[in-house]
Amino acid sequence: MTSTTPKRDGWRLKQPSVIPGFGLTLGFTLAYFSLIVFIPLIALGIRSAGLGFDGFWKAATDPRVLGALRVSFVTALIAAGVNVIFGTLIAWVLVRYRFPGRRIFDAVVDLPFALPTAVAGIALTAIYAPNGIVGHWFPFRIAYTPIGIVIAMIFIGLPFVVRTIQPILEEVSREVEEASATLGASRFQTITRVILPSLTPAIMTGFALAFARGVGEYGSVIFIAGNIPFVSEIAPLLIYIRLQEFNYVGATVIAAVMLIISFAMLFIINLIQAWSRKRFGYGN
């Protein structure tokens, strides 16, 4: 239990340590992870591989599938964009300004993490519906259109952006800003040329996280979306419909496409972070 036997000379799974429990804890971790996450995901991979490239391609380029993917990605992109703008502003205000109620607002940012998506979905629908307290101010429909989807995705993605930028902004030292001011830069120049560029990796990471979350989001979106194929039907909903029809092949293909894209996003996020750590030395 204390240490694993070296498999070969010079190759060791782990460095020696006096602390017990390595085999037990790592073993349990791997077993649990495999059973709950890994094997099911592999099963999905095998299923979609079983289709062969042609079958996969045919199912993936089905017009309704493409339509749903387009709706999901475009709306998630817009929502992530809005979130980057307001998320950065909110992070700025929370870190830099002192005003009554700041702590409460800081806590409220996390609401989307805590509020179940279905609850958020029906609540957003209620207020943005044509007769809702916000919706009735608008001459056009918000709920039951792609705009509604964007609204739900903004809700879901906001804390990812704020919470990614906040700690980095706290790290920006006053002295750097003072240096910029003494060199003659106006406050606006200091913000746009010194502070925001140093936040860029965090902003990009926040964008990627919010985007990935938006693409996969289901609960908060379906109530407000309208769910009209080609217009406001999102990819996760189409998977759900295919499953209800017991069309597992159709569902698997959409899921595989979405997984490939979200893993690519995950990879990109890691690249951004590794790159910015290496080049600018953030986080050390």
Partner: protein, 342 residues
């Protein structure tokens, strides 16, 4: 540029960091602000820069009241202890920054900015590193970049806040020499903060010693070292020993006897005698300070011994030749050659 600080007072939330400070900084001189931690050195520097505004009093640049000017308009070069380089910019971009943020009307063309930045990098001996990022440089190199960046805007005054504070002793010593040479070549009016007296004595044209938000003494290194005007300065600059004495009949007395030091101009009564450990001579006769060695250690080429004088436990330090046979409990008699009373 000449800088005049007139009766400046600065409070932070009622806490006075500077009391009524006045100081004239001459054009082209290199002046050091020296003082213990919390004495207000940084605050004074930041007031000159316009990073803080005085609670009362004024700062003049030449004849112009600087309180009319923002930080941006003051045209000062500020170098921070922790460099404060822009991490997402290359070294070249860092150095060019000040010129490139100028309004279009006064901004030199891009090629000219680049040429001047490269020239400055050459001056600070960093040619060839212009494409690197700050975190790819050593501490000493970073501080030189910070200096080049500050010089790029051709500042009227150069302000350095413990520029070498974060560096190791070896690099410090090199940069110190190099800064002096730089100053001699470029002739910028320079104020630098340090709490390393050796650095201040070696580098500065004039010293400004501060303590508890006040200026204690301003003068050339020699003046401040040889003629300190207050016990604080005597104690803070260089080594010093202190002993309570009495002045009577134009002579100094300790422990009920004259110590052979005539003080014809001093006021009769109690006083504190200050002298430097190396400014003493050993004597044989009675009219002297005598004490028992309580500890002894080797400092470079001399031996520093601590003596207990009289029965009241007053201790002073004096220097002896390193081969002097004095050991613990040895009795020694000496007389300060140069001294001051406060």
């Amino acid at each position: 540029m000449q800088v005049r600080i007139a009766n400046v007072r600065k409070e932070f939330d009622r806490f006075p960091a500077l009391h009524d400070v006045s100081l004239d900084i001459n054009s082209g001189e290199l002046i050091a602000l020296l003082g213990p931690s919390g004495s207000g050195k940084t605050t004074l520097l930041r007031l000159i820069a316009g990073l803080e505004m005085p609670t009362a009093g004024k700062v003049f640049f030449g004849d112009i009241d600087a309180s009319e000017k923002t930080v941006q308009e003051r045209n000062i070069g500020f170098v921070f202890q922790h460099y404060a380089l822009f991490r997402h910019m290359t070294i070249l971009e860092n150095v060019s920054f000040g010129l490139s943020v100028r309004p279009r009307a006064t901004r030199p063309p891009a090629g000219e900015i680049r040429r001047r930045a490269l020239e400055l990098l050459d001056l600070v001996q960093l040619s060839g590193l212009e494409k690197r990022y700050p975190n790819q440089l050593s501490g000493g190199q970073r501080q030189r970049v910070a200096l080049a960046r500050a010089l790029a805007i051709e500042p009227g005054v150069l302000l350095l806040d413990e520029p070498f504070g974060a560096l190791d002793a070896q690099v410090r010593r090199e940069l110190r020499k190099w800064l002096r040479e730089m100053h001699d070549r470029t002739g910028h009016t320079t104020v630098f903060v340090t709490h390393d007296q050796e650095e201040a004595l070696e580098l500065a044209d004039r010293l400004c010693v501060m303590s508890q938000g006040k200026i204690e003494q301003v003068g050339s290194p020699d003046t401040v070292y040889d003629q300190p005007t207050s016990p604080f300065v005597f104690g803070f600059i260089g080594e010093s020993s202190e002993l309570p004495v009495t002045v009577e009949n134009g002579e100094l007395w300790s422990g009920g006897r004259a110590i052979g030091v005539p003080a014809p101009d001093s006021k009769t009564g109690e006083a504190r005698l200050f002298f430097r450990p190396h400014d003493v001579e050993l004597v044989e006769h009675d009219a002297s300070l005598a004490g028992v060695v309580t500890s002894s250690r080797r400092v470079g080429g001399t031996r520093r011994v601590e003596l207990e004088i009289g029965g009241e436990g007053h201790k002073v330090e004096i220097d002896l030749p390193f081969d002097h046979p004095a050991g613990e409990k040895t009795r020694l008699a000496f007389r300060p050659k140069r001294w001051r009373l406060f």
